[in-house]
């Protein structure tokens, strides 16, 4: 395959098609709409299901229905629409069925704006719905990574029968970059042994999230927590850049992580030993590695396109071993490498 110039939203849509997407349900919202538009043409062309729902509430519940049949299905939205999906996300997670949902984050809170943001970090990592669970959260920093993570999302969802959210800022969704799409996979027509396909010649099956007895509900919650522990042990992903000899560590994900990469290069040119840890999974979070690196550096600087949300997770991971500072821009403003460099220099003056 050769690289082609692709917009992030379109790349995710086409990657999902090639990963064997059988059904998509969605609702238009900027800055993710190209994803829906691409699938509105592509899915019917392949004889697959595309449906524009009447709302994000309906879309996530249509997804719940399609997933209950064991089909590969997904939905996508952006922050305000993603908020409307919280109910369905919780039901999907509680039903132990694999699901993939894309959130192209925009400026908020409220209606906010259509500019890139990472303001949904708390929402996606804490539970993405009511109750007591965590989804797997993949945070791509390029169009290529968005493609790769889309394929990965379906595989992880099915391997663990768990909810996977691809959380990207609007910049990744809207940006065009050269990237390579995966080969076309066949639709997996095999249906798992929990799928609702009609009880033909077999006992009936139920997909439910209702456990009225406290003991039964707690047993289900314990099972979920045991699964999350296994996921945490096996699926934590991150990228490191020049951390071997780093005196200062930048931590950023998505576009902020990518811009921090440029800041590391600038800092190194200035003789500052700066390294970067870029989480690729926001949950599970690379806490152990961060804790290790905190023992090596003089300070950490968290860079986000919000008021400081992953900052909490970094502080929990570092656990007081070293000072953790923060640099963030909000409202749809993308931080510049020079601004980050300035924050590093300030941190250096304060920590020496």
């Amino acid at each position: 395959m050769t690289k082609q110039l692709l917009k992030g939203n379109v790349a995710i849509a086409e990657a999902a098609v090639r990963a064997g997407l059988e059904a998509y349900f969605g609702y238009p919202i900027t800055p993710q709409t190209e994803l829906l538009e691409h699938l509105s043409a592509r899915m019917p062309e392949l004889g697959r299901v595309f449906l524009q729902a009447e709302s994000e509430v309906a879309a996530i519940n249509m997804l719940y229905g399609a997933l209950s049949t064991g089909a590969r299905a997904m939905t996508s939205s952006s922050s305000p629409g993603f908020s409307l999906m919280q109910e369905g996300l919780s039901y999907i997670a509680a039903s132990d069925i694999p699901g993939v949902v894309v959130d192209v984050m925009r400026g908020g809170p409220g209606l906010g704006n259509i500019l890139p943001s990472q303001g949904d970090y708390f929402q996606v990592t804490r539970s993405a719905g009511h109750g007591d669970y965590r989804p797997i959260v993949l945070a791509p920093a390029s169009v290529q990574e968005a493609i790769d993570f889309t394929v990965l999302a379906f595989d992880l969802a099915e391997q663990y029968r768990h909810l996977v959210i691809i959380a990207l800022d609007g910049l990744i969704g809207q940006m065009m970059e050269p990237a390579e799409l995966p080969p076309m996979r066949d639709i997996n027509t095999h249906r798992p042994d929990w799928a609702l396909t009609g009880a033909e010649g077999r006992p009936k099956r139920m997909i439910s999230s209702l456990y009225l007895q406290a003991e039964a509900q707690e047993a289900v919650n314990r099972r979920t927590q045991a699964r999350l522990k296994i996921i945490s042990e096996n699926e934590t992903r991150w990228i490191e850049y020049m951390t071997d000899d780093a005196d200062y560590l930048l931590v950023g994900y998505g576009s902020a992580g990518r811009i921090a990469y440029s800041a590391v290069q600038s800092a190194r040119r200035d003789g500052l030993k700066v390294g970067l840890l870029r989480p690729q999974t926001l949950w599970p979070f690379p806490s152990e590695r961060l804790h290790e690196l905190a023992g090596q550096v003089r300070g950490c600087l968290v860079v986000e396109m919000n008021a400081g949300q992953m900052l909490d997770d970094v502080r929990l991971a570092v656990n007081g071993r070293v000072a953790v500072d923060f640099f963030g821009r909000m409202g749809g403003i993308v931080p510049m490498p020079d601004e980050i460099l300035g924050a590093i220099q300030q941190m250096q003056h304060e920590r020496i």
């Binding site: 309906a58 249509m62 039901y91 009609g198 009936k204 099956r205």
Partner: protein, 268 residues
Amino acid sequence: MTADIKCDDMTITYQRPDAFTDAHTHYCPGCTHGVAHRLLAEALDELNLREKTILVAPVGCAVFIADYFELDGCIAAHGRAPAMATGIKRVQPDKVVVTYQGDGDLASIGAAEVMHAAVRGENITIVFINNAIYGMTGGQMAPTSIIGQKTTSSPQGRSVVQSGHPIQMSELLAGLAGSAYVVRRSLHDAANIRKAKKAILTALKVQQAGLGFSLVELLSTCPTNWGLSPMDSLAWVKTHMLPIYPVGDFKVADGVKEVMRDGVRSNS
């Protein structure tokens, strides 16, 4: 006379439908959910659909319905059954998908989902239980509660000024082009129960024939939350509900009459 009856002459005239499990339902004495369940189970049996039907339960008193049916089933979020059914049906168009929803679920919180399922002509069947009250949460006012009806959230009686008018879902849904078969029946006496059964059979045949959205509204009782005896509840349906919610066929689209007359020719 009796001495002449031999065992060979005995035939089974009434038994548990195959579509039922042997579970005991949790419904209150005199509640007509049991009758509605029975009609659906008999209809599924008669059309031989048990092994190809997926049942979507609502939130409300019927949240446990899938426990009572020997079918694949699931429980939707409150009001979202038509959306969940849409997802199931779109990826498995050869299966029969049925939702069973109460009036709080369908006419209030799920009004958008059912409207748009009908607009799309979604090829699903809905059994809609209208008992003019929220049962599961203990008798609050529903969008279907009648004017003056006292409930735990309208203790002075439902007032138009405060809460508007009862919503007539069948009439509303019948006006949408995607609806193929939308009717209202009542469960307050044997003759009406028989008509309700026939309507459920027709609705399932409409889905089998691929004609589009079908819904059977059933006027039902809630003796516990109405504060009436089972018998008085049946009478209340007749005296208080039927004037606002008349039984009738509100939408019988082209092709439905052929299905009613000739049965289903194909599953397409």
